[in-house]
């Protein structure tokens, strides 16, 4: 059985998605403020981790890590479900822009969706 990560093209697909995804996120005033760190390159590296997770690739983050990692964003910067929806929309359009088929996109979005409660500390 091939995994989602293999089907979508593995690390090469993550690499291809980073720039377009980060451009969409930074270009969206509704969510850009969360990502405007002093060090853009470091922020871009975090997109790599995010995309690897969403593509079902190897990572070592637990739900608890996701909760801890975003807690300050929820409680100090007001991260909420609408922001989450925006990120999913950017994920979707990035993949569509790279020519990924609808069925695979749905699988990726489902993986990301599964982290909602943890990311938003619900």
């Amino acid at each position: 059985m091939t995994t989602l990560f293999e089907k979508i093209g593995g690390q090469a697909s993550v690499n291809a998605a980073i720039d377009p995804f980060y451009r969409r996120v930074l270009g969206d005033p509704y969510v850009s403020r969360f990502f405007e760190g002093v060090d853009m390159v470091k922020q871009a590296e975090k997109q790599r981790t995010f995309l690897t997770m969403a593509f079902g690739g190897p990572h070592n983050y637990s739900g608890l890590d996701m909760r801890k990692g975003h807690k300050h964003l929820v409680h100090e910067m007001g991260l909420n479900g609408t922001h989450f929806d925006h990120i999913l929309a950017h994920l979707r359009s990035t993949l569509a822009g790279l020519g990924v088929g609808e069925a695979l996109i749905a699988e990726v979005v489902a993986v990301a969706e599964s982290t909602r409660a943890d990311v938003l500390d619900l």
Partner: protein, 323 residues
């Protein structure tokens, strides 16, 4: 099994064990995060021995070249001596020459200490021995030069810059740590277009990077932009002109925010002026240095103009917070 040395102690690494796991087993806790090569928290440096290629996957080229690797992905095939990512040695050098490049920028040339190796564009941390005050200054020299060169901008009330401008004398000794930074030219893709843009003394590392790229045989176009608030902040115009005259692939352009515009210079905000001049930046390798807010602005604008984040190298000259 290969040994791993860290901070003077040698540890054995079992077959199929990673450096991170081995050190953890010995009670040495390196910073770490995902343990799968994604987060780069466990990035360390091999100071002896060559880390396996797999342990460098995902690192940027300048880091690979400096033997950085991810401890969580490293099953060593040979003995390694490793150090934490920011470790650097201390050197001592003598001031050979001091000369003013404009009203507020002084050029200091130092002897190159034995054993000090660096890449053009990296910076050193100069140390004032009397009170251990340390500040970063970028190198304008290249490895082929037999001196080190820094450009110091006088900052009003600045402790280190005023001391360097006024007190430090020719023939005096000065200590420094380094080199640091990964804003430098890496060989390969000789035909790729390069964009070098900086404000003020941000020219220092860019001047080094441009000469280093040319020396390494770079054939693609090299676009260097030197930006300043006003024309009086520009310097090295004739050096840049000469360099461009000698190397057809290099173009140097000044950019001035306000006031009189020198002939051939661009005016206005440098990020917009560059995008206006060059258009689509897809495929460019970009080096940005100088004033932190302007470097961040350029990073963002050039990324939106098509440059890949992976191909943008930046050294923001952030200043040390007061206190």
């Amino acid at each position: 099994m290969p040994d791993i040395s860290f901070e003077g102690i040698t540890y054995d690494c079992a077959a199929d064990e990673t450096v991170l796991d081995s050190l953890t087993r010995h009670g040495v806790l390196l910073p770490s995060g995902c343990r799968s090569g994604s987060c780069h928290a466990c990035k360390v440096k091999a100071i002896k021995g060559k880390p396996p290629v797999a342990s460098q996957a995902g690192l940027r080229e300048p880091l690979k070249e400096q033997n950085y690797f991810l401890a969580c992905m490293c099953k060593p095939d040979e003995a390694l001596e490793i150090a934490l990512a920011d470790a650097s040695d201390k050197y001592s050098a003598t001031v050979i020459e001091k000369s003013w490049l404009n009203d507020t920028v002084v050029r200091i040339r130092l002897t190159r200490p034995e054993g000090f190796n660096y890449r053009a564009g990296q910076f050193i941390n100069l140390l004032r021995t009397s009170d251990q005050l340390a500040r970063s200054y970028s190198l304008a020299s290249i490895e082929g030069d037999d001196f080190l060169e820094v450009h110091i901008k006088r900052v009003p009330e600045g402790r280190m810059s005023n001391w360097l401008c006024d007190e430090l004398q020719q023939d005096q000794e000065i200590s420094f740590f380094g080199p640091s930074g990964s804003c430098f030219y890496v060989q390969g893709k000789a035909e790729q277009p390069l964009l070098l843009a900086g404000t003020g003394t941000g020219l220092a590392p860019l001047y080094g990077i441009a000469r280093d790229a040319i020396r390494a045989g770079h054939t693609g176009p090299i676009q260097l932009f030197h930006a300043s608030h006003g024309a009086e902040g520009l310097y090295y115009s004739s050096e840049l002109e000469q360099l461009a005259a000698a190397h057809a692939q290099l173009t140097c352009t000044a950019c001035v925010l306000q006031g009189d515009i020198p002939e051939g210079a661009l005016s206005g905000a440098v990020d917009a002026a560059v995008v206006n001049r060059l258009g689509d930046l897809a495929g460019y390798r970009v080096f940005l240095c100088g004033d932190a807010p302007v470097v961040e602005l350029m990073q963002r604008s050039f990324f939106f103009a098509g440059a890949s984040m992976q191909d943008i190298y930046a050294d923001a000259f952030s200043f040390t917070p007061a206190g």
